[in-house]
Amino acid sequence: MTSPRLTPEPTPTTTTSSRAAEPTSPSRPENAADAAMFDAIAVAQASIYGYGIVSAHSTPDLNYLVSSSMAAHRKEREQALAMLQARSVDAPLPAAGYELPIEVDNPTDAANLAVRMEEDSAVAWRAVVEQATVEEERAFAVGALSDTAVRAARWTRVLGTTPITVAFPGGSE
């Protein structure tokens, strides 16, 4: 749908001595439902990182939106982690650093990055909805998809473009 997401950087951006034994992230599960949840967790981790960048470049009047957005991704990640853990599936670890899909130098770039991350999140949650085999998990992902669409609308309004909503968040219809 959109361009490249935040991708984990191949090498850590910071090199501290404690990173000598960098843990390797578990590999993506084979089971489709687990894999979708695994991906959604990875996208949430990238978004939490990305909102740090958004925060650095946003104007102070948007602090409320930055912090509520980041808090939402953190909460969703925790819930998704618990669901994978309940099935004894290993979750991805956050990367040491992420490559941004766009250069972020000012408040407009920051809002664009936020919209991009919400779009990526929508794709990830929709995949969880489609692959889930348990109603409880599907319901959780349906809620997460709506929440991400609401955040995407708020950030699009910040950009001043219209319309601020899309017909199929996370979908390609």
Binding site: V142, L145, A149, R157, P163
Partner: protein, 178 residues
Amino acid sequence: MGVGGRCNGKMLHVPSPNPTVSRRRVLIGTAALALLGASVAACGSSEPPPEVDELAAQLDRARTDSQLATDAAAAARGDIVEALNAVASERSAHAQALIDELVRMRGTDAPTTTPSTTTEAPAAAPTVKDVIASLTQSADSATGLAAKMSGYRAGLLASIAASCTAAYEVALVPPGSA
């Protein structure tokens, strides 16, 4: 946008959980029945999946919301007009996607066309509040159904629910209060 026929303030009142049966509902109900009938005839003894009825109800809601937003836009002034038109267009796109899925479920032919225009006397135009209330119910309904269904249908309904939610929580609420 290609939103169905005008019906001049027909669906004034936001559909309640147990709405009185409107003419449109009857029309759509009939369409759904025709659709079921065709399916039964085509497949002999095989029963149509129960999802057909549930998706047809979602289609009904999408068309109703689209018309409601169109009527509200016609009566509104200012920035909200654009937002209402966007809602009308999105709900119309939802209707089309639901039709496409109903066609896939049933096999070949398309479900019956959009409800015909009515000739009821025009009443007071719907307001943004009416649209918000209707979208809130549509979002709830699609959210519940998405969790119950699976695969692509669940995904489609989840996206529809997300779109309705973003519309009533953000797009139709003036900046500053959202």
